[in-house]
């Protein structure tokens, strides 16, 4: 009997990624001075089960690779080898490399052999050379440690040392499709490059799709850049720091002076040759066909992207068995109630009405509970997102030579899975901002009378129906005056206008602000913040900033707990039913036509307690012609608030309040203006959910 192993692959990959996460967090918590053998055991176990699993499934490349890691960890565990920081860094790099390999295998792509070989070489050097610092020759040492630090962009050749100056550089810059979504603007990069030297750009647009397929938020363009001038490679990489991991990039010196040429040649192929002979079996080289090199860069990029989409599609969650048990209990209750109602119905007579009513009430309670516990299954602890930040902070702070501690609070706060998935990118951006621009260099901190080590606190907690995520740093804070003067200079704010503190901080979310030249003190604080805010708004949340100059900045994100259910008020417009989210309703008023004030050519207003509010006639804006026209003389005004603006919706009738399950209109259809989604009513028909802020915008147009 043969078993189709591929059915277990998904589980295997999930376990592997979990193992990798455990290894990573273990490695990061390792304290050099006082080694906790339990942590090393955990790391070892992670490596061991990945090795075992990949062996079973025939992923020999992974198995062989983990074998080397395991050997190293085994020696550390037995105390035969000292745990050193370089060794830990190499192991961290290996974790990344493994993750890359596994993702490649999972998406049925070819494993990037050269990067694997590079990491393998680094591992073996640690393994054979004992401690890194003495016995390892300089050339071999370099790619090893370097590749760990800049793991996010393994494609950058690391051969040029900082002080080696060239006459110019050739940069092949091929951003991933979602570069713009991360808030990076290539134009800004080019502008900076241009400051370094004379810049010529060649744009490759062959990957740009036909117009009707074009997504303006995707970056389909790649560039060949040429900078001429006396520039060091470090300066160039510094500029591209922010897009690392969001692009494929190759930096090469333009005209190679004789002295750098050999250096450049040695490093890249060298580790490959160094490893392959020492490889226990040559299988790994053969296991993957050599076509990898033939696939064009753009192709792999596309398949990357598609694979990523496919992965998101087939995502699964692990659920606490407790939650499932409650669910089963609930279902049991529902079944009991149902059979009870069945009994009542069998020989029904009027004297059983009371019993029937009781039964129905019970059923209602049980279905509500059932719904709640099903929703609960979708809830994941926020640590799913938070857990990757220690690594990010570790990597970036060591790159920036800053001392930063990351504190995580409230990691077990539960949020909807959809929120977990979507909040990640904005958070990465905000934390990078805090790391790069918030926290000062150690010397500056001491000078400012603060402790040398900066703190970033990532905090999650529930408040009301919302989850609040706060990013608190004790860095230099935002400079109000500078922000304001910059905004005036940019023409975003009228001169002499008086803004509140909150309004000034809000400025950094303005799109025009983010593309601004870097400010000296708060450089880059605005980069992509508009994108971050837009992402958060699209999740139905909001973001606010509290900052004190010199003391630090707190960025608070408020998000709805779940994106799947909403309390709604159903309203009738003609024959049609719409749902208004209950949270946005302030009040509802019965009116007659006479209570509306006409503004010539500009629609109507309604006077609510000395305030004139614009009125949106739902009939008119949605072109509803059905229903009784005489009724349009009077109707119900629903006063709603959308993004801080009050306005009135004129509907025919209020129908009732109910919880509705939000269904996507975009899954099979498209976005419709003024509508945020759809839901299915009790009779099986579809009702549209109104997007109040969108409606306000739409009506103004």
């Amino acid at each position: 009997m043969s078993i189709d192993m591929s059915q277990f692959h998904q589980v295997f990959f999930e376990e592997c990624f979990e193992g990798l996460e455990a290894m990573e967090s273990g490695l990061l918590t390792l304290d050099m001075g006082d080694i906790d053998s339990e942590i090393i055991n955990t790391i070892f176990r992670g490596a061991h089960s990945i090795k075992g699993g990949s062996g079973t499934f025939g992923f020999t490349v992974v198995a062989e690779y983990t074998h080397i890691m395991e050997t190293l960890l085994d020696e550390m565990r037995d105390g035969r080898r000292k745990v050193t920081q370089p060794a830990v860094d190499v192991l961290l790099g290996s974790v990344d490399c493994l993750r890359e390999m596994l993702t490649a295998i999972q998406n049925e792509r070819d494993v990037n052999n050269s990067s694997v070989a590079k990491h393998k070489a680094a591992l073996e050097i640690v393994l054979n050379g004992g401690s890194m610092d003495e016995s390892v020759p300089q050339v071999e040492h370099k790619p090893a440690s370097e590749s760990v630090v800049v793991n996010a962009a393994p494609d950058i050749p690391e051969e040029e040392s900082g002080d080696l100056e060239e006459q110019g550089w050739k940069i092949a810059f091929c951003p991933y499709l979602d570069l713009l979504k991360t808030g990076n603007d290539p134009v800004r990069l080019f502008r900076e490059l241009n400051e370094l030297g004379e810049l010529t750009t060649i744009v490759n647009i062959q990957d740009v799709p036909a117009f009707y397929e074009l997504d303006p938020e995707e970056c389909n363009i790649s560039w060949d850049l040429k900078v001429v001038g006396d520039i060091s490679g470090d300066d160039i990489r510094e500029i591209f720091n922010w897009v690392e991991g969001d692009c494929e990039m190759e930096i090469q010196p333009l005209a190679k002076p004789i002295k750098s040429a050999p250096v450049a040649k040695i490093i890249d192929p060298e580790p490959l040759e160094l490893v392959l002979p020492s490889n226990p079996s040559p299988k790994s080289a053969e296991a993957k066909p050599k076509v990898a090199a033939e696939i064009k860069k753009s192709d792999t990029q596309d398949s990357d992207n598609e694979a990523a989409k496919a992965m998101a599609k087939a995502s699964s969650i692990r659920v606490d068995t407790d939650k499932i048990d409650t669910l089963i209990n609930m279902v049991g209750e529902v079944v009991i109630t149902q059979s009870m109602l069945g009994l009542v119905g069998e020989n029904f007579s009027m004297d059983k009405v009371g019993q029937l009513k009781r039964g129905l009430a019970q059923l209602e309670r049980h279905t509500r509970d059932l719904q709640q516990s099903v929703m609960n299954i979708r809830m994941l602890p926020i640590s799913f997102v938070f857990s990757r930040f220690p690594r990010l902070v570790h990597d970036i702070s060591s790159k920036l030579d800053k001392k930063i501690v990351l504190k995580l609070v409230g990691e077990n706060t539960e949020v909807d899975k959809a929120v977990v998935e979507l909040i990640n990118d904005p958070l990465v951006h905000l934390i990078r901002n805090s790391l790069d621009h918030g926290i000062e260099m150690p010397a500056d901190r001491v000078a400012a009378g603060k402790s040398e080590t900066g703190t970033i606190e990532l905090k999650a907690y529930h408040r009301g129906g919302h989850i609040v995520i706060e990013i608190i740093d004790d860095g230099r804070g935002l400079d109000k005056d500078k922000l304001l003067s910059k905004a005036i200079e940019k023409g975003l704010v009228e001169e002499n206008s008086i803004l509140t503190e909150k309004q000034i901080f809000e400025l950094i979310f303005m799109p025009g602000f983010s593309t601004a030249e870097q400010l000296t003190d708060i450089s880059g604080r605005g980069v992509g913040m508009d994108v971050v805010r837009r992402n958060i708004l699209s999740l139905g949340g909001n973001i606010e900033i509290i900052s004190e100059l010199g003391k630090g900045t707190t960025i608070a994100i408020h998000l709805p707990l779940t994106l799947a259910i909403l309390d709604g008020q159903s309203v009738a417009v003609g024959d049609e039913t719409y749902i208004v989210p209950l949270v946005s309703i302030i009040e509802s008023i019965n009116i007659t036509e006479r209570m509306l004030n006409k503004v010539a050519g500009k629609g109507e207003t309604f006077r609510l307690r000395n305030e004139y509010l614009p009125v949106i006639r739902m009939r008119r804006i949605f072109n509803v012609h059905s229903g009784n026209p005489t009724k349009s003389k009077e109707g119900v005004l629903v006063v709603v608030e959308g993004q801080g603006e009050l306005c009135c919706l004129l509907v025919d009738e209020l129908l009732g309040q109910q919880q509705v399950v939000i269904k996507s209109l975009e899954a099979n259809y498209r976005r419709v203006e003024g509508v945020s989604g759809a839901t299915i009513l009790g009779d099986g028909s579809v009702a549209l959910i109104l997007d109040v802020p969108g409606l306000v915008r739409f009506s103004i147009r």
Partner: protein, 171 residues
Amino acid sequence: MAQEAENKDIDQYHYSKNLDNAVQYLSFALGREEYGVDILRVQEIRSWEPVSRIPNVPCYEKGVVNLRGSIVPILDLRERFNLSKAEYTPLTVVVVLQTGDSNKPRIMGVVVDSVSDVISVDKTEIQGAPDFGTKVSNEFINGLVSVNERMVMLLDVDKLLKLEDLDQVES
């Protein structure tokens, strides 16, 4: 009945001639015209049921319905092709089609007068769509095929279900 038998003969003829080149199409009628869609794109065939109207969209996008929990848009093909309108009757049929790539499939329903047949077509016998001039758009037509002396227009499902104004998504 005779016609059906003849149909079958033709089908068999195609099968025996070249099995590899045979493609099956579901044919349906709009007025006196006959159209075909790739049968692998057809998810199901349903009867017409009232839809929930969507405000401010082209008139051929009739609205959305609840198809076992997902919201599915319904397009009227008569109106899409600028044919005269027909009353919806209990016999009016909605063909539910799949489009989009495998990662992001979309389903949509199209309203047609009636479904006729499943036809097997030899790929080599598909003619290119002729140019009708500007009056009739042939952008959705993949080709023409003659089945039993009737002309069947084969539709490109992806182009047919490509909704206009998709660029409005990001405003």
